[in-house]
């Protein structure tokens, strides 16, 4: 090669590099799916069309109905978090530290609530315990000759119970892994120093797991504050509203009027503020309890002998877990095969007609399965590409403002789904460039991408940080262009993480309700919306049948993920 060729090469390089294109693309994508929706909520709340207006926000804030919703939200969140934490820590300790038998079976039971969407669990609890109509209530009333239903799930305590049951596994998961990784010598040395068992638990074990507990608390608190499915399933019929359900209600009532949308937007801001306060308090608490004593190395913890308490605790745990994990699934199954909701479960009432009907007679259901599969696949695929690109830009290209990119991508994760949906409606109903996605499937896709992008970002960036720069440089010096080095070395190395990132998006999209309930149009119902509407229309058996199908789909997908990730470890 002569120097002329080099000059030509230099000339080629003067164009925009691939890294720059990717960086710009990431900024554009995040502006579209994150900044514009968030901006529009603020804009609609404080701009009345001609001037800045705080009055509307104030009036929404102090409206009686909204104040009650706020109160309900806080009461539910606080108590649900409190009890979920207690139950979660108790079971974590029981399974992580005691010699209780049947641990494997119980651990399996704990994984089930993760697979069932919260609104389905709520629906099932409603079938069991709703006033006089609930099957279990009816059973108890006839067994004990009661005049009134023993438990009414359509109440604030009812919502709290469902949330506790649904959320305590989050706390359990966090704490049990901390307990399993804790250095056992810390406890042993306390025993040697003369402390008794209770004292060790109180003064050593518990304080050391504080960081794990508080991150579990944070998870439950924020999820509860922004949960839509549970309060809407059991609270709506009795007029019990929380902030998320109230926002949806305002949005529905508005019928598209400017004032109505502004009220929903204002209430969204209230919800965001509540969540933000919870986050801040949590951060404070978390930084107070930083311990490095829990090691990454796995160790065999000292197991505490339960002795006489072993059998009673086992019976109690199994009973409890059966009630809260198995009963709801059985309930939905039974109802799905029952001729009509309310009839007793006998052989002559057994039928598969709801499964047949749901697919043959109901166009909405067929659409919803198609839509959900389409949405989950496309959201998964787009998040996969965009999230990995973002991770690459943030951690490898390291442009100026890389942290801003990261913050933007993670922001929707801590925003309630309801709020994100309102933002999407405001931003993409013709507000910008005349693009109106309202009532189409595309607006749901945009919202899904915004909500779940951070999942892929996290898994891909963790993998990317494992890829040492010299691996890419080695490819360059072997004659590969920047693009080829990416394609031949970096991408294959992070492929497993990208794939699991895809499923991390795919699964929640399949069972999504919060976002889609606000965004669906006549032709863009999702599985969640379809189940919800079947139930509202009184076709409860069909709703149950569709729920069973949804749960099966999720379980199959989940096992597929496990299969894929297991295969990777073998290599």
């Amino acid at each position: 090669m002569t120097n002329k060729d080099f000059l030509k090469l230099e000339g080629k390089k003067s164009g925009i590099s691939m890294d720059k294109i990717m960086t710009i693309f990431c900024y554009v994508a995040l502006i579209a799916v994150v900044i514009l929706p968030v901006f529009m909520i603020i804009y609609y709340t404080f701009w009345d069309g001609s001037k800045i207006d705080f009055e509307m926000f104030r009036s929404v804030l102090f409206q009686k109905e909204n104040l009650r919703a706020m109160k309900n939200t806080l009461i539910i969140a606080v108590f649900a978090t409190l009890f979920a934490t207690l139950v979660g820590v108790f079971f974590a300790w029981l399974l992580g530290r005691s010699d209780i038998p049947m641990k494997g079976f119980m651990k399996f039971l704990f994984s089930i609530p993760f697979m069932i969407p919260p609104f389905l669990a709520a629906m099932s609890w409603d079938m069991m315990f709703s006033g006089r109509g609930g099957y279990v209530n009816k059973l108890l009333m006839s067994l004990f000759n009661l005049a009134n239903a023993p438990l009414n799930i359509n109440s604030i305590p009812g919502i709290i119970i469902i949330e506790v049951v649904y959320y305590f596994p989050f706390v359990y998961m966090q704490v049990v892994s901390a307990l399993e990784r804790m250095d056992p010598t810390l406890e042993e040395s306390a025993r040697i120093a003369g402390a008794n068992q209770m004292y060790v638990i109180r003064k050593i074990t518990l304080p050391l797991t504080v960081p794990a507990i508080s991150s579990g608390v944070l998870l439950v608190l924020i999820t509860s504050l922004s949960n839509y499915g549970i309060p809407s399933m059991v609270g709506y019929s009795k007029g019990i509203f929380t902030l998320p359900t109230m926002i949806v209600e305002l949005m529905n009532r508005s019928g598209g009027s400017f004032v109505g949308i502004r009220q929903a937007a204002a209430l969204s801001i209230v919800l965001v503020i509540v969540v933000a306060i919870a986050l801040v308090i949590q951060r404070r608490l978390l930084t107070h309890g930083r311990y490095d004593i829990i090691k990454g190395k796995s160790m065999r913890p000292m197991l505490i002998k339960l002795r006489g308490a072993k059998i009673p605790l086992l019976v109690f745990s199994l009973f409890f877990l059966t009630l809260i994990v198995i009963a709801p699934i059985v309930m939905i199954l039974l109802v799905s095969f029952n001729r009509a909701y309310g009839l007793p479960f006998t052989m002559e009432n057994f039928t598969v007609m709801h499964y047949v009907n749901v697919f043959t007679k109901n166009a909405m259901v067929k659409d919803s399965v198609k839509n959900s599969l389409f949405l989950a696949f496309s959201a998964g695929a787009i998040c996969l590409v965009l999230g990995t690109m973002l991770a690459y830009v943030i951690y490898k290209v390291k442009p100026k403002g890389g942290t801003i990119l990261e913050m933007l991508a993670v922001l929707p994760y801590s925003l309630p789904g309801t709020v994100m949906s309102i933002g999407c409606i405001l931003a993409w109903s013709g507000a910008f460039f005349g693009i109106s996605l309202y009532n189409t499937i595309w607006i749901i896709l945009v919202a899904y991408i915004a909500r779940y992008l951070s999942y892929v970002l996290k898994s891909s960036s963790a993998a990317l940080q494992q890829v040492h720069p010299s691996l890419e440089e080695a490819a360059r010096s072997c004659g590969a262009s920047h693009y080829e080095a990416l394609k031949d070395v970096t991408l294959p190395l992070i492929k497993p993480a990208m794939l699991s990132g895809f499923f991390l998006v795919f699964l929640p999209c399949m069972r999504e309700l919060t976002t889609s309930i606000l965004l669906y149009g006549p032709k863009s119902r999702t599985l969640g919306v379809a189940i919800y509407q079947l139930r509202i229309n009184g076709q409860i058996n069909q709703a149950a049948a569709l729920s069973v199908i949804t749960i099966l789909l999720i379980i199959i997908m989940n096992n597929l993920v496990k299969y894929i990730t297991r295969d990777r470890r073998k290599l």
Binding site: M1, R476, C478, H482
Partner: protein, 359 residues
Amino acid sequence: MNKIELNNITVRYGTNTVLEHFNLTVEPGQILGIVGPSGCGKTTVVRAICGFIDPQEGTVSINGNIMYDRAKRINVSPEKRNVGVVFQDYAVWPHLTVYDNTAYPLKKHGVPKDQIRPQVEEALRLVNMSSYHNYMPSQLSGGQQQRVAIARALTSSKDLLIMDEPITNLDAKLREQMLVEIRLMQEQLGTTIIYITHDQEAAMQLCDKIVIMQNDGSIAQIGTDEEIISNPANRFVFSFVGVSNFLPVIKQDGKVYLDYDEKILLFDEVPAEYPAADRADIGIRPMDIVFDETSPVKAKIVSAVFFGNIYSYFIDIAGNEYRVQRITSGNEEDEKYVEGLEIGVRFLNCKYFDREVKN
């Protein structure tokens, strides 16, 4: 066989200048060692050659072709510079087999398919990895991965190899073996090799010529191992290439004294290489301080440690500690020099350096 020239290279990271007006020429077919303490800019030099960084000033040329010229805005991308690189952490791609790792550069260089296999086999034979074609890197030991990295660098370029601390992560025995093998391979192929290390012993064993870089990124000395050991250019080189003692000396009335509070006569004549200033330092290796009862310079043995083939001592002269080594003689003389003994010492092969101004 490629000649490499670096001219006037300046590299800055923010306000931190790593290299300033750095010049270096590597002759074809040479193994050139670049040696220096960690953080002196060794790796920056090779990254500039490979094209992984763009210097703020200067030119890089390989075999007379300009690869980088700041002024003329020439910057050949790394994949077109035809340099084989062996990275410190091997950088063997974990998702490809040994064969695929080694074949990758050939594929990228557009070598016809039927020629790839013989070339890969040849490269793997050179590094003694012929029986490992289908192994994944995770199934190999560190030393074996290292060999794969070298084989891959060889298929990438037989003309110029850059090795950045290639054997630091291996154990001592394997290090020795790898050095011999690299040397043999180079003799077979005539490759120009730039070998980066902070281990001066490995460099002296392997390299035809050694560049010693100091902490500020400048070159202290370029020379063969003999030149560097017998004629260290400065105090830094002297202390870098081995264990060293520095003693203060002063020139008075045509004689050289040890420059302590109480002057001790060292030599009756001032040697020709004595620096211009009256006060200077002598640098001396532990082996060159010998016990001699007749010497007027008295020292006290602070400690004596037996290492098998040598004895290592700390001695005290006028309140200062120095290192002394003596080859074990195997007779009663070994037991004579015990801790606490007062004895005369003589100094051989003294090197004279300007007095270091201590802050």
